[in-house]
């Protein structure tokens, strides 16, 4: 493990660990959104070397794959733009003006792209094909993360400063409810007919009934629970915790929500991705690094990227069937 403390005094060195077969196809890539650098690091997942650095305007943070899987959109809130990339190669495909896009996601029926505009307190609904604004909700302060019900009836958005969870009806585009949820809610994930919401100002997650928004369960995961991810086999729920000294990634049983293991990870883990070899790629916000962790041992190596790495996309996710989101990895 290379820690930040070691990085202060030691030159960075990382041995490449081949983990993917050479098929002649473009190498699998990891794209890391460096919010503090206005860049996206494109990493060859095989060699773990940065092969390109793509510019954005100001502050790339999160990603969404278009339903046809042809374009990867990266949000740039400070630059008021969505940047488009080839999801296989990371090659740029242009950008579109969008007001303050932070976290974003396509509805499961592929009809809408919903964007949380954190700075402007908007939850914006755009038409998928035209990117035309269809509806704007002012549902609270600092809209943070969002998810949908699988039938595309409902959308849920955490309001970070208001301490609330907001839901609106996707068919009528009208508000359903807003409920207090805990201090500084962040990550939102639909799971087994319920919602999991990270409560960043507290020490864990809550399970919420999507019908009326009442809290059905609470589970401690660690201080500063920020975002939540479900592995592709629906076997492990991961929660990144990034407050108070030693930050960590918690692995939970997705049914019982019992914490199975906590991986201490220095440097503020944020978004994560899981590679086909089982390694977990983790953006470390405070460290300018991506950690590649073996979940069996908890050991990890790091790859140096830009300042404040935030969202992380692994192109290997394209081999999966069905809908792809940044939180179901």
């Amino acid at each position: 493990m290379i820690t930040r403390r070691a990085a202060l005094g030691l030159p960075f060195a990382l041995a490449a660990t081949p983990a993917f077969a050479d098929t002649g196809a473009p190498p699998p890539i990891c794209m890391v959104m460096n919010s503090g650098d206005a860049t996206i690091s494109v990493i060859d997942m095989t060699t773990r070397q940065i092969i390109a650095t793509q510019p954005t305007f100001r502050e790339p943070s999160h990603w969404a794959l278009t339903p046809d899987r042809q374009t990867l959109y990266v949000s740039d809130a400070g630059g008021n733009a969505l940047f488009a990339f080839d999801p296989q190669t990371g090659a740029p495909k242009g950008h579109a003006p969008i007001a303050d896009p932070y976290q974003l996601g396509y509805s499961p029926d592929a009809k809408y792209l919903v964007v949380n505009a954190l700075r402007l307190n908007h939850v914006d609904v755009y038409d998928t094909a035209s990117l035309a604004l269809v509806k704007r909700f002012q549902a609270g302060k600092m809209p943070s993360h969002l998810d949908f019900s699988p039938d595309s009836r409902w959308c849920f958005s955490s309001q970070q400063e208001s301490d609330t969870l907001f839901s609106f009806d996707m068919t009528t585009l009208t508000p359903r409810w807003t409920v207090p949820i805990g201090h500084t809610p962040a990550g939102v994930l639909w799971l087994n007919g319920k919602l999991i919401v990270c409560i960043m100002g507290e020490n864990g997650i809550v399970e919420v009934d999507p019908v009326d928004g009442h809290i059905t369960r609470r589970q401690k995961t660690g201080p500063g629970a920020h975002n939540v991810f479900l592995d592709s086999k629906n076997q492990i729920l991961y929660v990144s915790n990034r407050a108070v000294g030693h930050t960590s990634l918690a692995a939970l049983d997705p049914v019982t929500l019992e914490v199975k293991r906590v991986y201490p990870i220095d440097g503020g883990p944020d978004d994560i991705g899981i590679a086909p070899d089982g390694k977990i790629w983790i953006a470390l916000r405070f460290n300018e690094e991506v950690a590649v962790m073996d979940p069996q041992t908890g050991d990890y190596e790091t790859i140096q990227v830009g300042r404040s790495p935030h969202g992380i996309y692994l192109s290997t996710i394209l081999s999966r069937q069905g809908r792809i989101t940044a939180e179901t990895i």
């Binding site: 930040r4 990085a7 202060l8 503090g36 650098d37 206005a38 860049t39 510019p55 305007f57 100001r58 400070g78 630059g79 008021n80 733009a81 950008h95 003006p97 969008i98 007001a99 303050d100 954190l118 700075r119 402007l120 307190n121 908007h122 704007r136 002012q138 302060k141 600092m142 970070q160 400063e161 201090h183 500084t184 960043m200 100002g201 201080p223 500063g224 990034r242 407050a243 108070v244 000294g245 930050t247 440097g267 503020g268 916000r285 405070f286 460290n287 300018e288 830009g306 300042r307 404040s308």
Partner: protein, 321 residues
């Protein structure tokens, strides 16, 4: 080298954020600011670095090549306090927090009208993907905007009542750059917010370049007998800026308003390249503004500001003759 230095400060800022700021945010349920706290820590780290570097360069120069020698430097101590308040991020963070909601509401309103604030690199073809060039263009334009903010602050009586605090210093040194009334700082913040709506925020990934620009502003106030020769037509030197702080230039009808690029004074015909090192200060300013404590200066400046406003709007309370 520069990249390593940049990375070193990022790592220190990361430590500061993770082990001091985030725990405080967490404890007080302020985690909604967690996204920004790293940036604040970077500002703080770079600010401290800037103070150290500025001191290391300017102090020996002021010691060996001074324009004036002072027996009592107590007035300079207050400027040191101003510098730390501003450079390590206290005033910028307070200003940001005070105006955050207003800024959000106003920007949201503008966006609701269908206007999406652009960036220079989205407006100018070919600029995107050249962040350093973009940075310099922003630096030039924002300095131009600051030229006009500064020039207007000398044009309106009430505004100058605030700005007089900056001019009142008779012992002008490299510490004097941040010596401003807090209301004046608020106006600057609002000014650049409006500019930001028009041309976007500059790229913030080059803190060392930003420090370089701030260094020029500090250096231009230094008590050093130096000029930049022909380069003075482009960059503000201590001699050039000292002319702006001279007794005869206080108040209205001043000159040499530029902060970094003297080019703006040349373009707008307010440049004075006289080869003189004149005494500084504002003869009309109350003594409290020149030698008072921080609080005394702030209170005096506020009183002058409100009195000037009242006079402007005929609210002085005096009965008509």
């Amino acid at each position: 080298m520069l990249h390593s230095l940049d990375q070193f400060f990022s790592i220190l800022a990361g430590y500061m954020d993770e082990y001091t700021v985030v725990p405080v945010l967490y404890h007080f349920h302020w985690m909604e600011w967690d996204e920004l706290s790293f940036d604040w820590c970077l500002v703080c780290m770079y600010g401290l670095f800037a103070v150290i570097v500025t001191y290391a360069i300017c102090w020996p120069l002021e010691h060996f090549f001074p324009i004036e020698r002072w027996d009592n430097k107590s007035a300079v101590l207050v400027d040191v306090f101003y510098t730390f308040l501003n450079r390590v991020g206290v005033i910028p963070v307070i200003t940001f927090l005070l105006f955050y909601q207003a800024q959000t509401c106003f920007t949201g309103w503008v966006v609701d009208l269908g206007y999406i604030p652009p960036t220079l690199d989205s407006l100018i073809p070919g600029l995107f993907g050249h962040p350093i060039l973009t940075f310099w263009l922003y630096a030039l334009l924002l300095d131009g905007a600051d030229y006009w903010r500064h020039r207007l602050s000398h044009s309106f009586r009430a505004w100058y009542a605030l700005h007089a605090l900056h001019h009142a210093q008779r012992q002008m040194s490299f510490w004097s750059d941040d010596r401003n009334h807090i209301f004046d700082d608020f106006i600057s913040f609002a000014w650049f917010f409006i500019i930001g709506l028009a041309i976007g925020i500059p790229p913030l990934q080059f803190p060392l370049l930003m420090l370089g620009l701030r260094f020029i502003e500090s250096f231009s106030h230094a008590n050093i007998r130096v000029n930049f020769g022909p380069l003075e037509w482009l960059v503000v030197s201590p001699r050039f800026h000292r002319l702006h702080h001279a007794l005869r230039a206080a108040g209205r009808g001043s000159f040499n308003y530029a902060g970094v690029f003297s080019l703006w004074d040349v373009i707008f015909r307010t440049a004075d390249f006289s080869p003189l090192y004149l005494p500084t200060g504002d003869a009309k300013a109350p003594e409290a503004l020149a030698t008072g404590s921080y609080l005394a200066q702030q209170i005096c400046g506020a009183k002058m500001f409100f009195a000037s406003l009242a006079k402007t709007f005929g609210l002085t309370g005096r009965k008509p003759a």
